[in-house]
Symmetry: C2
Subunit: 201 residues, 2 copies
């Protein structure tokens, strides 16, 4: 663009939008124009919703899921099986389990995985909180539901080692071929895991 062409505040807004995950330059421009042309009431509502979410959402006192009161929506349900904890990386994983409508236990949200490369150690995660929860509460089973990535695996292993002394049952999600997946396109590791974990019909 020729020097002097830029409308500065628009370029700044576009820059800000471009920093958002999954937003490229073209989308950022489109979003900037949209935010500029929105009726004032809509723009105010948009900004208010960011502020409200940031001001009112914090971590659940028990499981560290996102919550807008002391307990998160899961922990405040009385019919949950409080003896089972499903350990997940972040609140989106928790939401995925909730969508199955299958799991009736509680969760523990780590807010990340161990990653020495990114400087994320146990202190950056809610590990201490998990241990004190297991020490205090009457827990029967802990399901490690971190992602099947190198970091997710390492985190599950690490937590397993810390939790073993408590004598609770420790389990890991099953690995295998995804439903509706195509064997032909499954990677070697997944196929091998699906053989190892085969079950009787």
């Amino acid at each position: 663009m020729p020097m002097g062409y830029t409308v500065v505040p628009l370029a700044q807004l576009t820059d800000q939008l471009e920093r958002l995950p999954g937003v490229g330059h073209k989308s950022a421009q489109r979003l900037a124009y949209h935010l500029l042309n929105m009726p004032a009431a809509d723009a105010d509502a948009f900004i208010a919703s960011i502020r409200l979410a940031r001001d009112t959402i914090h971590e659940c006192a028990v499981c560290h899921n996102l919550a807008d009161s002391e307990l998160c929506p899961v922990c405040s349900q009385s019919d949950r099986d409080k003896t089972t904890i499903c350990v997940v990386e972040d609140p989106r994983d928790l939401a995925a389990f909730e969508r199955t409508r299958e799991y009736t236990g509680t969760y523990h949200v780590l807010h990340g995985v161990l990653s020495p490369m990114k400087g994320i150690g146990p202190e950056q995660l809610r590990v201490k909180e998990l241990l004190s929860r297991v020490a205090k509460e009457d827990i029967a089973e802990i399901i490690m539901a971190t992602n099947p990535t190198v970091e997710g695996e390492a985190t599950a292993m690490y937590l397993g080692k810390l939790l073993r002394p408590f004598g609770v049952k420790l389990t890991r999600l099953a690995y295998g071929i995804p439903m509706g997946g195509d064997l032909e396109y499954a990677d070697d590791v997944t196929l091998r895991r699906s053989l190892e974990g085969r079950q009787e019909l």
Copy 2:
């Protein structure tokens, strides 16, 4: 999601984000978590950039392009050929022409196209402003650079009719095959236009 699961302020923020153009439900969720987890200073900067853009950007007094002072960056350049006006639908089209670094005239931004279906008539566009500009200023040529869509064509035709009495030269962008395009995939209308508009080598 089971009833009672939702963290309300997060759902509201996700809803707001989902209304943005090109943002689906999954992206809206990802953006919501991102906005929630951003450092406070970054969130403030993000919101401030929306507010600043909305508060300071208005239409250029001459061409109705976006501007943060009385004249837009193009109209405030003294070396522009003020006798040529390129009529575009919106500021993004203007920015596209500026990127070519080829055009040295001025612009007129309509802020839309005629669309009876959407209730957009000449009063909703900057048509009156274009006519008074042509009446007052010394204009030699007006290039109709609306998009090659049904609505863009209709708008160019309509403006052409209004502008003809002023005795200025009226031109339309050339139609044809796009550079780097593949003839095999060009649509019939484009191919026909590229034949009609063929030029001597």
